[in-house]
Structures are given as C-alpha cells and as structure tokens.
Amino acid sequence: MKKYLSFFRLRFAMGLQYRAAALAGVATQFAWGFMEIMIFRAFYRADPASFPMSFSATVSYLWLQQAFLALFAAWMMENEIFDSIVDGNIAYELCRPVDLYNMWFSRSIATRLSRAVLRCFPILIVAAFLPKPYGITPPASPGHFLLFLVTMILGLLMTVSLCELIYILAFFTISPAGLRLMFDSAADFFAGALIPLPFFPEKMRQVMELLPFASMQNVPLRIYGGSMTGYEMQKAVFLQVFWLAAITFTGKVLCLLAQRRVTVQGG
C-alpha cells in the first residue's frame, strides 16, 4: 500500500508545479462556463417552465462542472501511460514489484486531484460572488452537500476506472488514438458533460442514467442543486457503487490478460 501512496505523493507534488498550465486552465474554464450559461440563458428566456431544472440549478451545475473539470473529464487521460505502451518504456514498469493497475490508479487520481486543487478555488470563489442568477447557489441542504462530497469521490474513482480500461486496451491495439477518440466523445455525451442528462428526452434519459458514464459527474452535480428526489439519489449512489466495482473488476482481469500477451515495442 505504501508504494502506491508514494506514487500518489510524487505525482501530486509534480502536478502542483505546473502553475502556468493551471492559470490557463482557470481562464479557459471561466470562458467556457460563461459561454454555456449564456446559451442556456437564451433558451430559458423563451420558456423557463419547459425545462427540467431551474435556471439557477443549471448554473450551479455548470460552475461546479468547470471547477472540478479535472476530476471528471474523461478525456484528461495520462498521456505518459499511452506513450510508455506505444514506445515500449512500459518495460521498466513491468520489471518492478508493483501491480500495474493499482499504480496507474494512484497516479491518475493524484494527477486529477492536483489539477483540481489548483483550478477549483478561483472558479468557485468568483462564481459565488457573481450576481444572481449567474452565480453558484449554496447547496440545497447540509445533507445534500455531504452526499455531494461522497458521490464526487465515487465519481472520480469511476472516471479513473473507466480510463484504465482504455489504457489497458491500448496493449491490444498498437495505437490508442482511435479508441481514445471514440471513448472521449461517448463519455462526454453520455456523462452529461455537454448537456446535463435531465435535458434529454425522457426515454433516452432513463437509459442513459443506467449507463456507467452517468455515474461520473452527473450524480454529484445534480445532487448539489437538489434536483434529484430521495429515491433517485439512492438509486444513483447504488449504481455508482455497482459500476465502480464492475468496471474495476473488468479492468483488473483485462490487465492480467494484457500482461500475459504483451509484446514490448521498439527493441
């Protein structure tokens, strides 16, 4: 366990040293957040009653999404892992007494956390002071906030375990580019990263909410704004735990298979 903690520590410390990247990230997230809010504003003006979430709940969803982008963005994968598989540097990782899956897991979590820590505060603070209804509103209740934190952790673990699948599949495909492209688009769409899931047509939404992608940002961000009923929240948390266990298990099995048939590329 200690070795994985060390990976986490080193990676986390490393992530904190990229200050310019964090600044650029904050600027991008602000611009993106404002743009999305303006678009939704235009729609809400037409007929606020026809939307599944109140405007202020949608705004909170968007700001939280931007603030914690690094925790949930499926496309933020570890390029170094892909590089090491493609160019064969993975050889070094394989001749160490570590479990590849767990090592990648701790690394990914550290990278995402370090990025989020640097980026979330400026966004949250500014968004909290924005005039109504463009700013972030306080959570629906202390209970909601607590559940928001718990589901956020589950969502982060879920995101990382889905990314692990892509890392491992790269062992089988020579180049991971195609896989990544497909996964990135699918994940963004089905996770509610482009449009929050409640905005989808009823039938479609019911299916989408069952998929593993819905267990990433969809659950915590909606719980925060109080747009889920008690029963819905129970179901969502149950699904998160279920998918986390299922995807992690699949990843571990695939990882063992991959190591058995691995060929190290490039001499």
Binding site: L10, A13, C95, R96, V98, V262
Partner: protein
C-alpha cells in the same frame, strides 16, 4: 542461478511492399511473417558470474533479457531464475533483479533524481538504513553527488545513465541485467560505468548479464561470452575462445558473425 531450457519466442509481423497500391491491397489481405526471435535457446548461469551476451542486431538478445526479467512470456521451454519462473510470479521475481535498458529511462523526467530514488525505495520496500547505505555507496562510486538534486531531463546522457544504473541497484538485486548500458556514452563515462559494474560484481557477488555491441565492454567485463544469432546459441565460451585471429576484438567478432553467417 539462471537456467533456460529449449526456450522459443516468436513474433507476428505484418509485412508489405512499398507503395500506395500495396498499402490498399494490405487493407484487404494482410501478409504476416512469423519471426523466430528465440529458437531453442538453452544455457545456465551460476551465481556471481559475469556474462556477455553478444550477437548482431535482431539476434534475440533483448528478447532473452525480457523473458529473464519476467516481462515476456516464452512460447515454449522452461525458464528458472533463483528457482522461480519469472513470468509466473512476476512481482516476487522482479524484487530480486535489477534491469537497465540503455535505450530507455526509468527516472521521472520532471522531478529531481533523488525523488525517483525515494519512490524506488518505497516500491521495493527497502528498509531505511539499507537504503541510506546503498545510496551513499552508489553516490560515491558513480559520482552522483552533484546530480541527485537536478531534474532528470536536464542531465546529459552519461550523467543520466549513471543515475539509471544506481536506480536499478538501490534494492541490491542478486541479478543485474544490463541491456546496452554504454550505448551513446563518451569514453570517460564508459570507463566509469565499466569500472563500477566490475566493482559491484566483486564486492556484492552480483550476477551480471550484459548485452552490448561494444566489444571493449565485453573485454573489460565478461569472463564468459554467449553468442546468439538468428535466435540460436552459437557459442558459449570465454574471450579467448573467440579471439582466434588478431588482437582487434571488433574485427574478430565481425569475422565470427561472418563465419556463422548471421
């Protein structure tokens, strides 16, 4: 002790001729060629030996190292290293070996070298006093004092290679695999690395298996030489065995390659 018996390993490689027409044709019909990287390889290496493993490019040297270090699984044959099957019990096996791939880097690029070392300490669960002792000894022998606090990306190749070797020895492995450790190094760095490997073998009894194209490495280090070509062991002997004509070892080896038609 290391034993390999009748080990075979083959790779499947997609091949096609040059040109656009051929590329389109390959969309519908792929031609594969099976490359036999290792073809019935057997040898035994005793504890504390220093073995030079030589052969032309593509002879199967790196494949052998990768099988012995537990990264690759052979198609056939049995491999035993210290009584363990490397690829069956990978994590136990690798804690007793050290590997240096001359063409790759194991140091973390963006952090000081010492951070990479500290991480390795935790990865191999090296007890603190042992780690201090190893680090002190390696720092002195490889002259690393100035280098430890710089990020790996800002070291020259020779400096980095010294750090890489130290990184592979921190946990005091009983067996050390060196895959072209002197590639691209200048004369001074080469001598330093050779000198160090020799000392390491004498003082700690580390078994060293070394692949290289630099015949001076072999002359300086290896008491025993295994020659591999086209996936087969062609010769297993001492330096004198291959030094049939002239003193120039490069020519002698080239002669040898020609004689075996590899």
């Amino acid at each position: 002790m290391i034993t390999m018996e009748h080990v075979c390993k083959s790779y499947k490689i997609a091949k096609r001729n040059a040109g656009f027409g051929e590329a389109v044709k390959a969309l519908f019909h792929r031609e594969y060629e099976i490359i036999h990287a290792l073809n019935d390889v057997s040898f035994t290496i005793e504890d504390g030996e220093m073995v030079g493993y030589i052969g032309p490019n593509g002879a199967g040297k790196s494949s052998t190292i990768k099988i012995l270090s537990g990264i690759l699984t052979p198609d056939h044959g049995t491999v035993l290293v210290n009584g363990r099957i490397p690829y069956k019990n990978r994590t136990r096996h690798v804690s007793e070996i050290g590997v240096v791939f001359g063409q790759r880097s194991q140091l973390w690029w963006d952090v000081p070298v010492i951070d990479s070392f500290e991480l390795l300490k935790d990865i191999y669960s090296i007890p603190e006093p042992l780690y201090r002792q190893s680090l002190e000894e390696l720092t002195e022998l490889l002259n690393l004092t100035e280098l430890l606090r710089s990020p790996a990306r800002q070291l020259s190749l020779g400096q980095r290679m010294r750090c890489e070797i130290a990184a592979s020895l921190l946990h005091r492995p009983r067996i050390l695999f060196l895959d072209e450790p002197t590639i691209g190094l200048d004369a001074v760095s080469k001598l330093a690395v050779r000198d160090f490997i020799l000392k390491e073998n004498q003082s700690h009894g580390t078994t060293v298996i070394l692949t290289t194209h630099d015949m001076q490495d072999i002359e300086a280090l290896a008491s025993r030489i295994i020659l591999i070509g086209k996936g087969k062991i062609l010769m297993d002997g001492t330096l004198d065995d291959i030094r049939r004509g002239g003193d120039n070892i490069d020519e002698t080896v080239a002669e040898l390659y020609r004689a075996y038609d590899i």
